[in-house]
Subunit: 160 residues, 2 copies
Amino acid sequence: VRRKSLKGTDCAVALALEHVGDWWNILILRDALQGYSRFDDFHQSLEISPTMLTRKLNALVDSGLLEKRQYLARPPRFEYVLTPLGKDFGPVLVALFAWGKRNFQSIDRGIVLVDSETNEFAEPIVSDRKSGEIIRSPRFSFKAAKGSSAATKRRLSRSR
Amino acid sequence: VRRKSLKGTDCAVALALEHVGDWWNILILRDALQGYSRFDDFHQSLEISPTMLTRKLNALVDSGLLEKRQYLARPPRFEYVLTPLGKDFGPVLVALFAWGKRNFQSIDRGIVLVDSETNEFAEPIVSDRKSGEIIRSPRFSFKAAKGSSAATKRRLSRSR
């Protein structure tokens, strides 16, 4: 998941993508967040080759999003469990789910997100914890931090 | 960006990834959401080869996230502008940014998200528009929709 061109980046989005940027990785995290942990379950869900799945699971372990644990001694069997970092990715997946749902799928298909207290469909939005306001411009904006790199400062100043 | 193994999926996350699943695509969208529209700006920001950048921009046009517009007749020059679908991806990027920031970068580095009314750093969370509650279990949960496929129903029933 590491590509040389991002070495030294100080953009949090790029740093995040270095950990989960891959398409399959995100589907594996989706399954893990829904409670999957065993190789066979991921394999059945994703329909990718065992070799590829092994590589992706190991990459997520290396990135610190999954932890490999032995759950059976004989024969040796392992499961892949979300770390706190992996669990913390949950809101990103919810936002991605919501975008997919709003744009590519009607509410009566696939999977829906339900509020068990009201039995209504949830409508996920991204808001600011302190003010409760939806994150959007012009109220919220990205700015270079004090210690940001020259490249980042230049990038922000070139944006319109 | 299309891979055959997701043909027929009815998972909104997978449908979403078919449109933006690629790592570079997301960095392009990041730049576009910060106001970039011209090839040279993307090129300078991303430091990928022109061939690759052209391919990625065209893929995002095909997927409906960017629109290619001529802004100069002689010589012919084009810019890439976010469509409503592309703009709607903004909250996903904010959630990804927040995850990267929480886990891989201190607040004084890179880019920060600022609330201009309070001058404080924003803390993006994913919440439910109706109830205002943070999306997390056990209150919120994913369930199979009425019209979901047999595969999706099976997948959800296998999750723990």
